[in-house]
Amino acid sequence: MRLSPDQKIFWQHGFVNLNLTIVTTWVLMLILVLGAKLITRKLKSEITTTRWQSILEMLVIGMKGQIKEVGLDKPGKYIGFIGTMFLFIAVSNLFAIVPWYEAPTSSLSTTAALAICVFIAVPFFGIAESGLMGYLKTYLQPNFIMLPFNIISELSRTLALAVRLFGNIMSGGLIISILLSIAPFFFPIVMSALGMLTGMVQAYIFAILATVYITAATQDNKQIKKNKNLKHG
């Protein structure tokens, strides 16, 4: 029994190998980039637009609204990162309707890479928003005793992000393959529909959690500044 698509290797040279996860990821990236390119080739701002443009507009407006609701004031700055994350995870989970497809998110290496992206993006956006010293001050938030706990939580939430997405998608695939051997024809269909729902929810949650972490890194300082202004004013 194969646990992850990492174990199906197409080409290997030294320690570099080309497995099913990487190939699927590349195909998905190609589909996403080509689709976006084709749709945005002729954008119109008239009353009647093409239906593909309407879909993309709904997606972008929805994502901007969600980011704004969590607490980031300028969603245009963050949608490039968070929206790409969401679209990639959602598309890679929804393609489960294609036969013989194995989601790249059901391998721990993909989800670990995505979680490390969030781990790097949080200090990046934090420093861009409030400077190096301002960002480092968020580690001393309530007081300096909390410094080790803040560092531990930074690491453990990255691990949790990776394992949560991996576990959910991998368990969905595993349940379907077990059910195929016990009760074929009907129950696997129901479970794969449930798996697609779980995949969408997990993509949403991954994006929302990334937004929450970025908000926590950028917002603390604003509140301190606000309090200072209130004191001075």
Binding site: M1, L3, Q66, E69, A160, V163, R164, F166, G167, N168, M170, S171, L174, V201, Q202, Y204, I205, I208, L209, V212
Partner: protein
């Protein structure tokens, strides 16, 4: 019983226990959180979008404990590190 049999018995029993208990407790927690979220939506339908979003994030947090248990039991069954160690001996 030799070492490999002992490891097999221990890891299979532990995997079952891990998934069993690890599904039971998060299910209780999720039930409590969903019921209280439904209560508050019934009381304040205007705030339903905020409550639903927070509920989803919270459910994912609770659910991830069950997923950790599942991953641990999968490791025990399919990728047991002690197993390889004793077979290589």
């Amino acid at each position: 019983m030799d070492n490999t049999t002992f490891i097999a018995v221990a890891s299979i029993v532990t995997a079952g226990l891990t998934t069993g208990i690890g599904c039971m407790m998060p299910a209780l927690g999720e039930g409590r959180s969903v019921s209280s979220a439904l209560n508050s939506i019934a009381q304040q339908p205007d705030a339903s979008s905020t409550i639903t979003r927070t509920l989803f994030v919270g459910l994912a947090m609770i659910e991830s404990t069950a997923i950790y248990c599942f991953v641990v039991s999968m490791i025990l069954i399919f990728a047991n590190p002690f197993w390889n160690h004793f077979i290589a001996k």
